[in-house]
Subunit: 378 residues, 2 copies
């Protein structure tokens, strides 16, 4: 059923919403017919989305607000108690995640751009907290990307729990520090794997490597804004923005080098070559790539019952291309890509998440951003 | 160098050619810049192309002519001595191939639609022969698809030599006989593997299976107009036309069932469902598929020196979509597709072949068809 309940604070923005999906246009796609429903709008550049056990949504706005949104779409005022956030350029409050044991410990996690001591530098950090009424309590920073640098770009980040309960954090190379992605003495252009208290898992791949930061899981990445665990294999699949061309999906395995900036399928902004080509011994090729770039952001594997013919497919949200790519996956191969929503929605998409109801939820990246969902047509 | 020497018999048609590529438009694609050169035209629906050791081209025209074309583009009169050919609908003279030991035995191979005794039925056959002056001699039919049926469609076929010297022949399911593709008592919708004298290799997968035709290599195919051996692995990669949607590239292995018409990514003409969906235990999924269909025809792996950044890529010619797809292959995965030539050439493409000079040669499927080639831009 179509529901659209607006919280008071978002009403004005909602009235000015440039798209009206009440007409319930049915999108007939390759494997499913669906309608696009607006769950909530008036959200300023929403970035991360996670569902609490009671189906309440936890949503981050990049400028630095963390909000609860009721299942019926009511947007609540920002939760109080966030740490200081550097909200400029691509920085701000980024991803959110719920502890797998939330029912017992009530913990949530969020990533954000953390200012340095003199505010001229910054990096991506991760904190955990509990929600108590309208505020965060027990806020604990569990990770801070090293080193902090002067940059407004390429913060990453997605937070994804592995099946063993460890937490993957995807981290950008800060744009200005791209060569750092190839060395292990820093967290630029890395996936890190940590315990939820911030400690380092004993089986991390570089814990015994001299000079390597022990949180590192994989390296040679650029700016990673998508990550998901494969529902059958448990393998991390990550997505990253390429330069001018070369957005990648990678099978993100321990200790592997994904090549940036030595190998890439893209080219430099303006057209120059980057690095040494697109293949090199000792460096991983992606499982799939886009050229030209879509500007891929969040991604998720679909496992729900609402769209039986989408089960096992990987959905990838994209910003510039304003599309939702459906990748038909067989084992570790992409057999086919279908691009959805460009014509019917036409919005920059920051993230895609499967809801507990089996619908696909999307975040539109706009100053009047929305949570929309795809619902099977009758 | 651009050469365009016209044989007398094709001059009139050439003058009416609707495209003029003398302007040498440079196509800047993802991995190469090239120009499109017309090697020869005035060919009626050319279908198969192979190079003799002296770089002369052997070209089939579907209506039933087999011609030599000089490296400089001179089109010679049809070779005499072909067997009777059923040239209606999709039938006619189809693919051509050169014996791997041609230097010693001078043998060529061709596939064609062979009429039945009363001309109301037909099937695909393969013959070998030698070229002596302007005619074929020692013409020997080495294979005949069983049974013959009344149909003008889905003859296949491509002829590809495996590294062990056996010959793969791809065979359509004749459109009217699609259920035959699932049983082994016929050659409809099959790849067969034969010796060049027509005998059955002792290690064919079904030689000991009661009721199975011993030539069968794989089954469950629809209409296969593309096939190539992977240059490193020696594995057969085959391409087939799907129904309305669902053109496939398959890793074509012994004894495997590729699912038609039980599973398919396409739907019936007009929109009805076919079969039971798109996955089923015991049936192979493709390595890549297109939806909607491009109408994929010939394919080849590029291994030449002219386009270093295309090495290892799989090129797929398509009819309806008038494009040349470049598939970036890593192992047995397709990482990326680039579509070439739709805007710059805009012709139905029946086949793509790597020339001995390392250029890519294409056949345009028109009544005034051409051999064109892609040549690196200066």
């Amino acid at each position: 059923m179509f529901t659209r309940t607006l919280a008071a604070l978002s009403l004005a923005a909602a009235l000015a919403a440039p798209f009206n999906l009440n007409a319930k246009t049915v999108v007939d796609s390759e494997r499913a017919s669906f309608t696009i429903e607006t769950v909530a709008d008036g959200l300023k550049n929403p970035w991360g989305l996670a569902f609490l056990p009671d189906d309440t949504m936890l949503v981050s706005e990049r400028e630095g607000n963390l909000r609860l949104v009721s299942p019926d779409g009511q947007v609540w005022p920002p939760l109080q108690g966030l740490p200081e956030i550097y909200a400029k350029g691509q920085g701000g409050l980024l991803d959110v995640a719920i502890d797998p044991d939330y029912a017992n410990n009530g913990r949530i996690y969020f990533s954000y751009s953390e200012p340095g001591e003199d505010d001229s530098t910054n990096s991506t950090a991760v904190a955990s907290a509990r929600i108590q009424d309208d505020k965060l309590v027990d806020v604990t920073r569990i990770f801070s990307q090293q080193p902090k640098v002067k940059s407004n770009a390429h913060f990453g980040s997605r937070l994804v729990f592995a099946n063993d309960g460890t937490l993957f954090v995807t981290l950008g190379e800060r744009y200005s520090q791209k060569d750092d992605a190839q060395t292990l003495d820093n967290h630029h252009g890395k996936v890190v794997r940590i315990n939820t208290d911030g400690s380092v898992p004993a089986d991390n791949p570089f814990v015994d490597t001299k000079g390597a930061l022990p949180e590192i899981w994989s390296y040679g990445h650029r700016n990673m804004q998508g990550a998901a665990i494969h529902p059958q294999t448990g393998v991390l699949w990550s997505g990253e923005h390429g330069a001018q061309g070369g957005d990648e999906i990678n099978l993100d395995r321990a200790a592997k080098n994904y090549g940036w900036p030595v190998i890439t399928y893209g080219e430099d902004y303006g057209g120059g070559e980057i690095g040494e080509g697109f293949k090199k011994a000792g460096m991983e090729t992606p499982v799939y790539y886009w050229l030209p770039s879509l500007a891929t952001a969040g991604l998720t594997f679909y496992t729900g019952e609402q769209f039986p013919d989408w089960q096992g497919d990987l959905f990838v949200a994209s910003l510039k291309a304003q599309t939702l790519s459906r990748l038909d996956i067989e084992g570790e191969r992409v057999l086919h890509e279908e691009r959805l929503l460009k014509d019917e929605l036409g919005k920059r998409l920051r993230h895609v998440v499967q809801g507990p109801d089996g619908y696909l939820y999307l975040l539109t990246d706009e100053s009047n951003g929305a949570i929309v969902r795809l619902v099977p047509a009758d």
